[in-house]
């Protein structure tokens, strides 16, 4: 019944793997160790354990990927790291909280669940899209022709401004998110995945696929790619550069806002400064995947989530973050433009 064939580990390796994986299972006394090991294995076998950690990794990774998309799209089009992105993500979470609380009070969560979710995600994404355009208009557009350092500082300033604005309006402490999904879950081969997680993973992947289709199948997407390749040439060919940049600043932050609502729905609490930690991880994901590349950001997010979860799963959890960033440094050392990066900055004259 221990069906490990799906992961293809020979039995001899299986035992060695067990001794590595189950480091904490071993107790100092030799005698008790075996019985402990047996008892532990009755609770959750290896395949279930791996599958559960895989679910954890996919979930965390898809959230990182959604946030990373915002960085990579903005960088791809105007070569600027949008440091305010973490704050836009948090703003999305707060808008979601406000809308969801209001809808819960009029009882829509019970009666019109799907509609509630559409309204919550729609409002959060729409608000943050407008906010993103406003940020671009105020902080980046006037500096588009000046040095990159000026735009970078402006981005940092915007980040601090938004963060403090949210602190003053939403308070300094955790705000509880209505738990609309509860703890119901389905169990596949011993791994649990809650209804909320299924919904969030599906939505995240739908958004990513949608974005990919938008960029590659629509006229606007084509304009966006053209602008990213060569702004001057795109303008000569009649593309409205300002409009294209504005649309990029709507889509990127809107995806971040969706991730913010997802974080609130799953983790149960939001705070004005929660964008920071997610920002660092998502930024790392964007760079790992190759900043400027949309599939790169998605893969980068999943890889960062995977490293975090699987390191903590098998090896000392205290070193989780050290490892994540070590991997990032190693990848950049071997491939400076990231996994899927095209080295655009060098190619472009």
């Amino acid at each position: 019944m221990r069906n490990v064939s799906s992961i293809r580990i020979p039995t001899s390796h299986f035992r060695i793997l067990n001794s590595i994986i189950c480091l904490p299972c071993r107790s100092p006394e030799g005698e008790g160790a075996l019985s402990d090991l047996k008892r532990n294995f009755s609770s959750m076998d290896l395949s279930a354990f791996l599958l559960q950690q895989f679910v954890n990794a996919i979930f965390l990774g898809s959230i990182y990927a959604l946030i990373a998309l915002g960085y990579t799209m903005v960088y791809g089009i105007i070569e600027l790291i949008n440091f305010a992105h973490g704050e836009l993500f948090t703003a999305g979470a707060f808008i979601g909280l406000i809308v969801l609380t209001a809808l819960q009070q009029i009882g829509w969560v019970e009666t019109h669940f799907v509609l509630t979710m559409i309204i919550v995600f729609g409002m959060a994404m729409a608000y943050v899209a407008v906010l993103g355009v406003a940020v671009e208009h105020v902080a980046y557009k006037p500096l588009r022709t000046s040095s990159r350092l000026a735009a970078l500082l402006s981005a940092l300033g915007m980040s601090i401004f938004l963060s403090n604005g949210m602190m003053l309006s939403q308070g300094v402490s955790d705000r509880a998110y209505p738990q609309v999904f509860g703890f119901e879950a389905i169990e596949i081969m011993g791994a649990r995945i809650t209804n909320g997680q299924i919904f969030i993973i599906l939505l995240a992947f739908a958004l990513m696929v949608g974005l990919q289709l938008f960029v590659h199948r629509t006229r606007l997407g084509k304009a966006m790619r053209a602008t990213a390749q060569n702004k001057t040439m795109a303008r000569i060919l009649g593309i409205d550069i300002d409009m294209t940049i504005r649309i990029t600043f709507m889509i990127g932050p809107a995806l971040g806002a969706a991730a913010g609502v997802m974080v609130g729905l799953h983790y149960g609490a939001v705070r004005f400064d929660m964008g920071f930690i997610f920002m660092i991880k998502a930024f790392a994901a964007a760079i790992l995947g190759g900043i400027g590349s949309i599939p790169g950001a998605m893969i980068g997010g999943l890889i960062i989530g995977g490293i975090e979860v699987f390191w903590a799963a098998f090896l000392p959890s205290a070193w989780k973050d050290v490892t994540t960033f070590t991997v990032l440094i190693l990848v950049l050392y071997l491939r400076p433009s990231g996994l899927l990066g095209e080295g655009t900055t060098e190619v472009r004259v």
Binding site: C22, R39, N40, Q53, Y267, V309, A312
Partner: protein, 374 residues
């Protein structure tokens, strides 16, 4: 000539104002995290002290009492900077800080400047083990807490195995170290895993899944409230069978609010709350004053620290550190967290009980000193 005259005038004004200020205003500084992940507790502490100043009213010998807030941000460097700022602004007493990792470095400048410091929250036992005579602590120590925890595990839960989770900070890591020590001494509870998380993180599923596989009888969460609230929700989503036990940093109304139904059945250690008329009055005053739904756990200690400091200054007739610390030490004070009497280290005689979350409320459950249900 005119330049010199202006300079002299400036100095005279500065010195004159300083003299006037010292004679009339008593400044109470607070150190607590007003920003960052633990801002909720930090705000509770500041509000507790402000409530004490408002309730105490007129202080003999002073025209007014001013509260100078300092932001320690649960960070050693920022706490030291805030402490120096408080010293420069001429505070007479400092109430704070919250995180032990912030209190420890902040002690150094405060003790050098001879300022009485009362912590309403930091529980690491090292803080009072350094022989500082101006340092006092309101809550019980971590070794007391760890002892109570191990007693509870052995005698009440009769647990055989336990897994520890901490976030590597002074307070949380100190607590797990103490539990390891006490558990190994008696040898009845075996520690089968010791995991770490990063403060400020949201996702703990990797570590929790690891522990689900180890399947200990009890999982001990040595973390602060924001992480604890999220961790317990994720544990429930993973349908973990182990019992969950936590400590005084998670014991906060916010834990119940954020974790909601996930918090049911969690055991926590916290000092016993005496049901006195003063406490009820304080809760009423605090909630009205700050428009709060519930009183944060450390607001009680902060209020007591504020009230005791004011009463001691009035009794000593001065805010100077030496007579003040002698007065605080030699008297027994009544507070909303029970009677306050300090030993020679600056610790109170106060112990923890075990609480259980039931119907989204903290309910007293078991007393480690008597071994009886409450």
């Amino acid at each position: 000539m005119r330049k010199i005259a202006i300079l002299v005038l400036c100095f005279a004004l500065i010195i004159g104002f300083q003299g006037m200020a010292a004679a009339e205003t008593l400044k109470i500084g607070t150190l607590s995290p007003l920003t960052g992940p633990y801002a909720q507790d930090g705000t509770d502490i500041l509000q507790g002290v402000k409530t004490a100043v408002a309730v105490y009213g007129q202080l003999k010998g002073f025209d007014k009492v001013e509260v100078v807030p300092g932001d320690s941000a649960c960070d050693g460097g920022k706490a030291t900077m805030a402490a120096n700022k408080l010293i420069n602004s001429g505070v007479n007493v400092v109430i704070g800080a919250y995180c032990s990792s912030a209190t420890e470095p902040a002690q150094i400048p405060l003790m050098d400047a001879k300022i009485v410091q009362i912590t309403p929250a930091s529980t690491n036992e090292r803080l009072t083990a350094k022989g500082y005579e101006y340092f006092f602590r309101m809550p019980p120590r971590d070794d007391v807490q760890a002892w109570s925890t191990v007693q509870f595990l052995e005698k009440k839960l009769k647990a055989k195995t336990i897994a520890l989770i901490d976030d590597k900070q002074t307070y949380t890591a100190g607590l797990t170290a103490n539990i390891t020590k006490f558990a190994e001494e008696s040898g009845k509870v075996k520690i089968v895993a010791h995991e770490h998380i990063t403060p400020g993180d949201s996702d703990f599923t990797a570590v929790l899944t690891k522990l689900k596989r180890v399947n200990p009888d009890v999982i001990y969460m040595s973390v602060y409230q924001p992480e604890g609230s999220k961790m317990i929700q994720q544990a429930r989503k993973l349908a973990m069978k182990s019992a969950f036990l936590s400590e005084d940093a998670v014991f906060h109304p916010k834990f119940l609010e954020v974790a909601g139904p996930a918090a049911e059945g969690v055991y926590l250690t916290f000092a016993q709350a005496p049901d006195t008329p003063e406490r009820r009055q304080f809760i009423k005053t605090y909630m009205a004053m700050w428009n709060a739904k519930a009183v944060g756990s450390y607001a009680y200690y902060a209020y007591d620290a504020g009230m005791m400091a004011l009463a001691a200054i009035e009794k000593a007739g001065t805010a100077k550190a030496d007579p003040l610390q002698k007065t605080i030490r030699s008297n027994t004070w009544t507070g909303v967290s029970g009677d306050i009497k300090f030993d020679k280290h600056g610790d109170r005689k106060i112990a923890h009980i075990v609480w259980l979350v039931k119907d989204n409320q903290f309910a007293p459950y078991w007393d480690p000193l008597t071994g009886k249900d409450l």
